[in-house]
Symmetry: C2
Subunit: 444 residues, 2 copies
């Protein structure tokens, strides 16, 4: 990947050379002095400017350069009936990693984590991972069948599903191959490419347990096959335990219908489990009594261990965290305070603590968490940092409600080797160099 491929990382820019921008300064002379009443408020702006250290007294020229948006009639409501981001944010997009896969339909487009806030991923920036491209399904023609070990096979229309009792819950979604290239010494340059197969959304749909009950599933059945309607007919085995716990047959994401790239009109949501099992364009659920060993869980999505054996059905996404800013490809443009921020999550429960280190793991301090901290959902963390120009090694590590602590890369590699593609939840290290540039390094 060349530097030309790098997105605008929303660089952390310096303070401007002059503290004041004459664009916003208005003349004192044109207004009165009472700053308590509207209509004279411009005067307060000017008076305050005059009172400031190093202040610039506005000239008529400054008035003429009052920003156009403060002088003109704006755009009407519903100019965009479905709104879009600002024209100044056009670089904040999901991006395909060049050369990662042989075809663009069986590929990945990553979420720009370095530019994002909070725990919600806007659906327009939700990562994509398709196996035969994404499709535009007509919801009037889409059906969901439940068959196999059931009393009565049943087929649902979308209208039938959307009339049933529904739930909305916030959960993270992470591809099992997220951070895959870090198994090697790839030094993928940015957090968009190292961790960008990750999202947090509010999912809405019918509890899977309710649909299984309605079909009269065999209480001895231990597995479920989920099948998608795209050309790849993605199929995955789901543990009945997960299915009956908190899985959702979802049609809604972040308040509206699923996006086509996310499985419109129907997707399986299996909280805590890797993304490939959240089958998109869901058309069939089959109840069974043994794992199905489909192509997507036998030849793919298995973890190659150092001894040549494979871990199969490694479904749960273990606890993991990453600093999203400052992160690789960004540049600190001057010394001083920075808010180190990132995301933490666990497929086994709730984040209980996040720690941040600026010296490669020698010293840790507890980060501040934005609430609510929810099970199997992203948690945003923050840590204060004053950068004095030294080389720094930024790391985060999460603790979850099972007592598990995110491992250092060396400890994970000691057990799992480096031959796998999947389930890399090691601590990520970002190096801040003395010139402020941030890059991706692997310690040990």
């Amino acid at each position: 990947m060349s530097s030309d491929d790098l997105p605008d990382q929303g660089k952390i820019r310096p303070a401007p050379e002059s503290f004041l921008d004459s664009d916003l300064i208005e003349s004192i002379s044109r207004h009165g002095v009472d700053h308590r009443r509207r209509g004279l408020l411009q005067s307060a702006f000017g008076a305050a400017v005059a009172a400031m250290s190093g202040a610039v007294v506005a000239s008529d020229q400054d008035i003429l350069t009052l920003p156009e948006w403060s002088r003109t009639l704006g755009k009407p409501v519903a100019a965009n009936p479905y709104g879009q981001p600002s024209i100044y944010e056009q670089n904040i997009i999901r991006r395909q990693s060049p050369g990662l896969t042989q075809t663009d339909q069986a590929s990945v487009a990553f979420t720009p984590l370095q530019n994002m806030f909070g725990m919600i991923t806007p659906s327009g920036l939700h990562f994509e991972r398709h196996h035969q491209g994404w499709v535009d399904i007509d919801p009037r023609r889409h059906r969901l069948m439940i068959n196999g070990l059931v009393e009565k096979p049943i087929v649902f229309t979308m209208e039938e599903l959307m009339r049933m009792p529904s739930v909305s819950r916030l959960h993270f979604l992470e591809c099992g191959a997220n951070t895959a290239l870090e198994w090697g010494n790839s030094a993928v340059p940015t957090v968009q490419y190292t961790h960008g197969m990750l999202s947090g959304s509010e999912w809405t749909g019918v509890p899977l347990s309710l649909l299984l009950e309605r079909a009269g599933y065999d209480k001895g059945a231990k597995y479920l096959l989920a099948e998608g309607a795209d050309g790849s007919s993605m199929t995955r085995t789901i543990n009945m335990e997960n299915a009956l716990d908190d899985a959702i047959v979802a049609y809604g994401q972040n308040g509206e219908m699923l996006r086509p790239e996310q499985g419109y009109p129907l997707r399986l949501v299996v909280p805590g489990v890797q993304g490939v099992s959240w089958v998109k364009w869901l058309r069939r659920l089959e109840v069974g009594d043994m794992p199905y060993a489909t192509k997507d869980e036998a030849s793919h999505y298995v973890d190659l261990m150092p001894d040549g054996q494979q871990r199969q059905y490694t479904a749960i996404q273990e606890a993991k965290s990453v600093i999203t800013a400052p992160s690789g490809g960004q540049k600190l443009q001057n010394r001083g305070y920075y808010n180190i921020t990132g995301l933490a999550w666990s497929g086994r429960g709730t984040v209980t603590k996040v720690e941040v280190s600026v010296d490669g793991g020698r010293n840790w301090r507890e980060a501040r968490l934005d609430g609510p901290v929810l099970p199997k959902m992203l948690t945003r963390f923050h840590a204060d940092w004053v950068w004095q120009g030294e080389t720094a090694l930024l790391q985060s590590r999460v603790h979850d409600s099972t007592g598990y602590i995110q491992p250092q890369r060396a400890d994970l590699v000691a057990v799992r080797g480096t031959r796998s593609i999947y389930h890399n939840n090691a601590i990520q290290t970002w190096r801040v160099k003395s010139d402020g540039e941030v890059d991706n390094v692997q310690l040990g």
Copy 2:
């Protein structure tokens, strides 16, 4: 408003005439019988179909009509670097209410609540209320000044603000004029137009208290003036109590930068307070010792009482709820089970209970709430209902953590009259007629 102006309300459609859709049925004859292994899975679909009551045995013609999305290569990843809703959802948009205002720049576009799920409003569907249109501000040229009763007036660039400690929190935003037309006998036809100046978002930014501390605000000061950078120079008085409690100078919404229509790059977030105080395109905060009585809080956004006096500075949005489906303009197309669903919120705290009535308030039962239930945020509720074809009067009422209960319209009108525009939090009634059509009625 004529019926031609009504949006597609996402009608609650009947079950299809045939239980099965031949589009999805594949031939049995072409495949084996082992339903446990991928590659032979189509056979299971066919076998299940054959086993079903009233099943249709698939013909070769059915195979030929397997949906195109299951037979073709889909679209590549990042085909839309910033994703969009499905082409089948093009009617789910925000809509201006025709004739509501004299110019489209000082108007409203409403959120399609009848089609939405959960508590998050996708930013593309967030309602718009502008006073002189919306503007595209260049964030490099935008500044925030804090002046007035402060030790040192200060001007921030966006870069400076975005380096500071930040918080992300989920809060509702409701225009004080939401449900305004219900003060009269308007019978606005749909929930999009009755309650669609409402949203729930995750907001990210700098705590206002931190910025005030940094400017050295006068601890005796009781008020703050917030001023926008658009042509209307929207100005509002904010109580210092609200400012220091949970207000945020926000640049992020739902994980990304604010949208231009929502104040990009900077907006004041004042949880629980009416939307007009969440000043968009925020450029200045002035600390003061008395309310400012600006045009936007003296001649507008005041509540005209029956005796001709005005309630001023009625900032807090009282507890309120509304059923979003079934709702006005929808049609129940057959009898049977429906999931009554809606939203509840309180500007004074947390929703503690929502009750639903199907007989105009004679009998109530408690609704199920989707968690997490958060302070000053929307809460999604659900209630089971089996419709037998009778005329029904659907209502919801919320209780909040202060003990307040949402009033019936007659009780609210008895105190406040019908001359106001603002702060109508009365219980909403939707009538389901015997033909299944739903309309807006006012009781008593």
